[in-house]
Symmetry: C2
Subunit: 270 residues, 2 copies
């Protein structure tokens, strides 16, 4: 059965897009469609040019043995701004203010489409850091970290607040929560990260940066190198965080519990 | 600028596949490509037939106002079997046995590609249950639950082991862990689920079923209806679980700590 060009293009696009950052050898498609590699190269060029012109992402061709083709998420700045504006708009709803001055945002960050978008934005912003792992601390940052890991095609690592028996020997550290000043514990299974690895920290929220600082220290114990820190929301105050280089997508300027006013805006320095 | 047929097909496939279960109105594509709806209907038919013939998923056309086209993940049984065989093969590695008779599996279930596959398998198996939410208990089940939620395009809900101040008023229940016999707590923010909702429980592991039973009880407090329970691994023993209808993808027959033998197999009754 002969497969038409438009059919090959639909199938190849589906397979590439669904496996971001995975290299597919042309032999794979060649066998699947019983088509010559030169034909497939033309198909892939069409897909590449289409994604380029509609700003839907990047198709890369990797030459040589072990080479092939892969899709990579890459968002243009305009789309990032629009998406972050939409999210901050939702977060400004006065009904989200919780006693204590917190904002209820789990429905937003646990929405698969929003988490997917945030993951692709982080993947775009940290692409050049080439992390080996995306790491987070349980619990609320996990969906965002998972979607970032998926967009970059690297394993997710979850640091626990206590060490669980089902993960074998673990490294634990104590750290001081920057906002509450309380001593807390985080731990990670020994075998979760290999020495010398490059890790990207992703979390939902940063106030003083105590948790991120704790992860930095824990990664030191593993001999791993933190190549980036991305958070969905960082509070403006305190200005001086416990970590230096971090990338917040949104800035929470203030929450007024009495009026329900939430002043949150996209980070203008993305 | 005129957009060619093969280019429209690449772009439409990308957009549909990346947003499973989201209905796109033809007007959207019509504006994007400045093409007639009849032309787009032909393009979509080609995509539909291609995904059909390569068993890559389903394209559905929804008629009427508010109608349009959507992509839905749907795996054939052969691909499900091969994927589960691969995963159980990896889990049989003697190096995974941890003191206490547990198996280290976080690297597998936190791998984005594996979690993606498991999410699509659950989405395939539970498609007819039409859940409004996918729900899990922190922590290890979250990546699988997130990927299932994404494949079905419904919100993820995470039950906490303690109630956090940042989520407002919460409902807590105590339950007895079926395997340890200890009393544990789980809690969920009041606003996380609306009454009358249909929920699908997804978790990584089930032994006696105490956690699933706890979720069932908690959902009762919310007036929500549990329409399915999916777990990646269920132990064969105890045969009588605390919940009746659950779907395990893999069955863990036994773990021999002395020899490092892990007897785990795909569920033959999928």
């Amino acid at each position: 059965m002969k497969v038409k060009r438009s059919e090959r293009i639909a199938a190849i696009t589906k397979i590439l897009v669904e496996h971001p950052n995975v290299i597919f050898n042309l032999d794979y498609f060649s066998e699947l469609f019983m088509a010559a590699k030169s034909t497939l190269s033309e198909d892939i060029l069409t897909i590449k040019q289409t994604l380029d012109s509609f700003k839907l992402g990047i198709i890369e061709t990797i030459p040589g043995a072990g080479g092939g083709v892969r899709y990579r998420a890459c968002w243009e700045n305009g789309k990032i701004s629009r998406t972050l504006r939409d999210i901050s708009q939702k977060l400004r709803d006065p009904g989200r203010v919780i006693p204590g001055g917190f904002i209820y945002m789990t429905d937003i960050i646990f929405s698969p489409s929003t988490a997917f978008n945030i993951g692709e934005i982080f993947a775009t912003k940290f692409a050049d850091k080439k992390p080996d792992y995306v790491i987070t601390v349980e619990t609320k940052g996990i969906p965002l970290a998972m979607m970032t890991a998926r967009a970059m095609n690297v394993p997710l690592v979850i640091i626990r607040r206590d060490s669980r028996v089902t993960e074998g020997s673990a490294v634990s550290i104590n750290y001081v929560s920057g906002s509450t000043g309380r001593i807390q514990t985080m731990s990670l299974a020994r075998r979760a990260i290999r020495g010398g690895a490059r890790v990207l920290i992703i979390d939902d929220f940063m106030k003083a940066g105590g948790t991120a600082k704790g992860i930095l220290n824990l990664m030191g114990e593993f001999g791993a190198d933190v190549v980036g820190i991305g958070v969905l929301v960082a509070t403006r105050e305190p200005l001086e965080k416990l970590v230096k280089d971090y990338l917040p997508l949104l800035i929470l300027n203030s929450v007024d519990i009495n009026t329900g006013t939430v002043d949150i805006v996209p980070n203008q320095n993305l």
